[in-house]
């Protein structure tokens, strides 16, 4: 049984309400931080914890906080990125819906560390009902003196505002989020300058994921060093994984990063194995934009080691044989799934969500979608596969924001690992319309070269 730090109380009835949350030990971290610690000490504690950003990139949070420019007389802002739009990722929704005070508490503590008197929650427009939950939680916190002027007599003021997005995946990119928050079109900004120097209204800003900010609460409560003891290596603490697809038990799981991927999929504590007695074919371990892996490479790395649910192990082997932890959207595909169709679905998503600002992403995503649709419909040509490879290569790294990469990686990984399925789709076009390629060799043990 893994340690739970974020969701351990989520099942308690009415934990959504302040009184219950407070009774269960809520807002202790605010009291501890504001009464006994200096802002820098809070940042130091987060640094010690080794907490890494939970939004996808996995950048160390403490380091990000210490990069924040602190010029005199200029306000600083904390912005919480709740624009969780990655297909397959729904962990923040769970957290905000069931235990909203954890986020509010984390935001107050983090704001104190950053010296931010105004914090924003930018939430995706589709989470309309959660806005009400959050605003109620903010009101309750305010009524009980945890928000507003002079919190707990410490002289620290803090206000939290919730802003709804209007339904754009791109607004989850931090600079597009800031543009949108300022009331403009959600186009990503060109970096540098980074938000830590020039963010919201040209002021220094920290943008963090919901889960990252929530994780500050146990870090302050237990101490950074205690938090860092959980997990393996640089993957410290617990991570929320939203598991979906062809597994028996879909849902949000909190894992301490010590378990293997195999255990996560097959143990009854977590996903409970593949549904309907089918076999595991492929998996996207970190949300739709990270590379897809076939079953054999998912469970063991190219070196033959067991793949663990950690940032390092999931990325082991680079993009050639590895993937990424990403935002923790764990999508499992069984042997009835078609990788071509799946890749097409993702390409369609990225085409729809590209902001259209820079040309490789705007034009390339649409082109890839059309080619993939042709292959899926049995109208593909052999040369299309290499063409797809060339298009994704020319998008990747040449765009303003990571959406270009996010659109290119799934296509690249699908071709890299499932090229024969694509070829089968083209050579057996008629048959491909009637049945799927199936599992084939994707779960076979991989050949591991022995070194002397």
């Amino acid at each position: 049984m893994g340690r739970k730090l974020l969701l351990d109380k989520a099942h308690i009835e009415n934990i959504r309400l302040y009184d219950v949350y407070r009774r269960e030990g809520g807002y202790r971290s605010v009291e501890k931080a504001l009464k006994t610690m200096s802002p820098d000490a809070v940042t130091e504690e987060v640094k010690k914890s080794g907490l890494r950003g939970r939004g996808g990139a996995g950048f160390p949070t403490g380091m990000k906080w210490s990069f924040l420019a602190k010029p005199e007389g200029v306000p600083r802002y904390l912005v919480v990125n709740a624009d969780e739009s990655e297909p397959g990722t729904f962990k923040d929704r769970y957290l905000m819906e069931f235990i909203p005070h954890l986020l509010i508490e984390g935001m107050i503590t983090s704001s104190y560390a950053l010296g931010s008197n105004r914090a924003y929650i930018y939430i995706r427009g589709e989470y309309a009902w959660i806005v009400d939950i959050l605003e109620q939680a903010i009101q309750e916190a305010k009524n009980n003196g945890f928000l507003g002027k002079n919190i707990l007599g410490s002289g620290f003021d803090c206000e939290i505002y919730v802003q709804r997005g209007a339904g754009a995946y791109i607004c989850g990119e931090e600079t597009a989020l800031l543009e949108s928050l300022e009331g403009k079109r959600g186009n990503p900004r060109i970096k540098p300058p980074f938000p830590a120097v020039k963010g919201l209204w040209d002021c220094p800003t920290v943008v963090n994921n919901v889960e990252t900010i929530a994780a500050v609460v146990p870090i302050i409560n237990e101490g950074g060093e205690e938090y860092a003891k959980i997990g393996i290596g640089k993957s410290t603490g617990t991570k929320l994984i939203s598991a979906c697809g062809n597994i028996k038990k879909q849902g949000v799981y909190e894992i301490d990063m010590t378990i293997s991927v195999e255990e996560f999929i097959y143990s009854d504590e977590y996903c409970g194995g593949i549904a309907n007695g089918r076999k595991l074919k492929a998996c996207i371990p970190g949300g739709s934009s990270v590379p897809i892996l076939p079953a054999n490479l998912l469970l063991t790395t190219a070196k033959g080691e067991k793949r663990m649910m950690t940032y390092e192990s999931l990325a082991d082997g680079g993009f050639a044989t590895g993937s990424m932890m990403g935002s923790g959207g764990f999508i499992v595909l069984d042997d009835t799934q078609c990788v071509v169709k799946h890749t097409y679905t993702l390409a369609r998503f990225y085409r729809h969500e590209s902001c259209g600002q820079c040309s490789p992403c705007r034009e390339g995503t649409g082109w890839m979608e059309k080619i993939l649709l042709n292959i899926e419909n049995g109208k593909g040509k052999m040369s299309d596969i290499d063409l797809l490879w060339d298009i994704q290569r020319k998008i990747e790294g040449n765009t303003i924001c990571p959406l270009g990469d996010a659109a290119a990686w799934p296509v690249a990984a699908a071709i890299r690992h499932f090229r024969d399925e694509f070829e089968w789709h083209i050579t057996n076009a008629d048959e491909a319309q009637r049945r799927n390629y199936g599992l084939m060799h994707y779960a076979d043990p991989i050949h591991i070269p022995t070194t002397a």
Binding site: E353, G356, Q357, P360, N398, I400
Partner: protein
């Protein structure tokens, strides 16, 4: 503390672009530095416009490789960077045409830009002065690998002077910056997103502003064209001359290029520099007002300064109008001073030559020449 110890920063930064070293002021972008060197070293730019704040970074044609960040930190930058929005550092080493990665990426970008662009150059008014044509000519391939229907848009009326042809647009955003920075009542911007994003106005409102015509000048392609010039002539058949007038509008610089056919003024534009941007006078961009651009279509509205110098690489220079001498009328000389006797004065019979093409609101059709009784 480190700041106190540090000496005065060097007045100029040394930057090496394709093995050519140049000294530029701090805060200069790589592209601007490359433009100071000039020639092949300068990356092409479709969206960057030095006179429009915030422009650039979008088209990705100006991507370059930074082989060394600076003397202090000589690490190379992992990704190609947009040279228009990346400032030089002292000791920076940039590779443009000497980098295969850049050439490869740029070819990709050109292919992307041309993917949905209608190749309707034969009927496009921008042809001959189109930056996308130049870019395709220099960096593009002969064929396309795109086998699908190109994206099209419904035509939209945005007012009496400017024709929006969204299908040709490459979404450089320059015109939106003009709307933001030059005109005081912004009604136009970008709708939708991704490959279905389009330039549009607020609920099909007409763009009505004294300086809106500058959108036509900044548009790198034929998406925004001058309605008073549409289909009247190919630009390479017209003769550009520099001219000026005292404009009542104090924000207007009054310095323009007239595009003439004979003595008719077919089109008025602002003057362009060698990068295709509006020329600056005393550090101020020479934007012109709509009165100068659309209403002053008579040669005697203007003080003509002389022929515009056009790069010899441009198709417009094929007219060889500079230094051209018209043949003299020699009949009178040959005939000892006597005028020739005309059998019939065609001008008194036909109305064709009495039609002033330049003052027509649109293209001339056969109806234009019908005799009006």
């Amino acid at each position: 503390m480190a700041d106190e110890v540090k000496k005065e920063p060097p007045a100029n930064f040394k930057v090496t672009i394709d093995n050519i070293t140049i000294e530029v002021a701090p805060g200069t972008s790589i592209l601007t530095a490359a433009r100071q060197i000039g020639g092949d070293v300068t990356p092409p730019a479709m969206c960057f416009y030095s006179k429009l704040k915030g422009s650039g970074g979008k088209c990705r044609t100006c991507l370059v490789e930074v082989a060394a960040g600076s003397t202090a930190d000589p690490r190379p930058m992992p990704k190609l960077v947009a040279s228009c929005r990346t400032n030089v550092m002292d000791g920076m080493i940039v590779k443009n045409i000497t980098s295969e990665r850049v050439q490869d990426a740029r070819a990709g970008v050109v292919e992307f830009l041309l993917l949905n662009h209608p190749l309707d150059c034969p009927i496009c008014d921008q042809a001959g002065e189109c930056h996308l044509q130049d870019l395709g000519y220099e960096h593009g391939k002969e064929g396309t690998r795109y086998e699908f229907k190109r994206r099209t848009f419904e035509k939209e009326d945005i007012g009496p002077y400017i024709q929006l042809h969204m299908t040709r647009c490459i979404l450089c955003y320059r015109c939106t910056y003009v709307a933001d920075q030059l005109t005081d009542n912004r009604v136009h911007g970008i709708l939708e997103r991704g490959d279905h994003a389009e330039i549009s106005t607020y609920i099909s409102k007409a763009i009505d502003n004294d300086f809106s015509g500058n959108m036509i000048d900044v548009c790198p392609v034929g998406a925004l064209t001058d309605k008073t010039f549409r289909f009247k002539n190919r630009v390479w058949f017209t003769k550009p001359v520099d001219a000026h007038r005292d404009c009542e509008n104090e924000k207007c610089c009054g310095k323009v290029t007239l595009w003439q056919r004979g003595d008719d003024v077919l089109r008025v534009t602002s003057r362009k520099d060698e990068w295709g941007e509006v020329q600056s006078y005393d550090g101020k961009p020479g934007w012109i007002c709509n009165t100068c651009r659309f209403d002053k279509k008579k040669a005697n509205d203007w003080v003509i300064e002389g022929p515009t110098s056009i790069s010899r690489h441009s198709v417009i220079s094929q007219g060889h109008y500079v230094g051209l001498q018209k043949p003299k009328e020699t009949i009178a000389e040959v005939m000892g001073g006597r005028e020739p006797k005309l059998l019939m004065d065609i001008h008194s019979i036909s109305d064709v030559n009495s039609v002033e093409i330049a003052s027509l609101p649109g293209p001339a059709t056969s109806k234009t020449f019908e005799k009006s009784e």
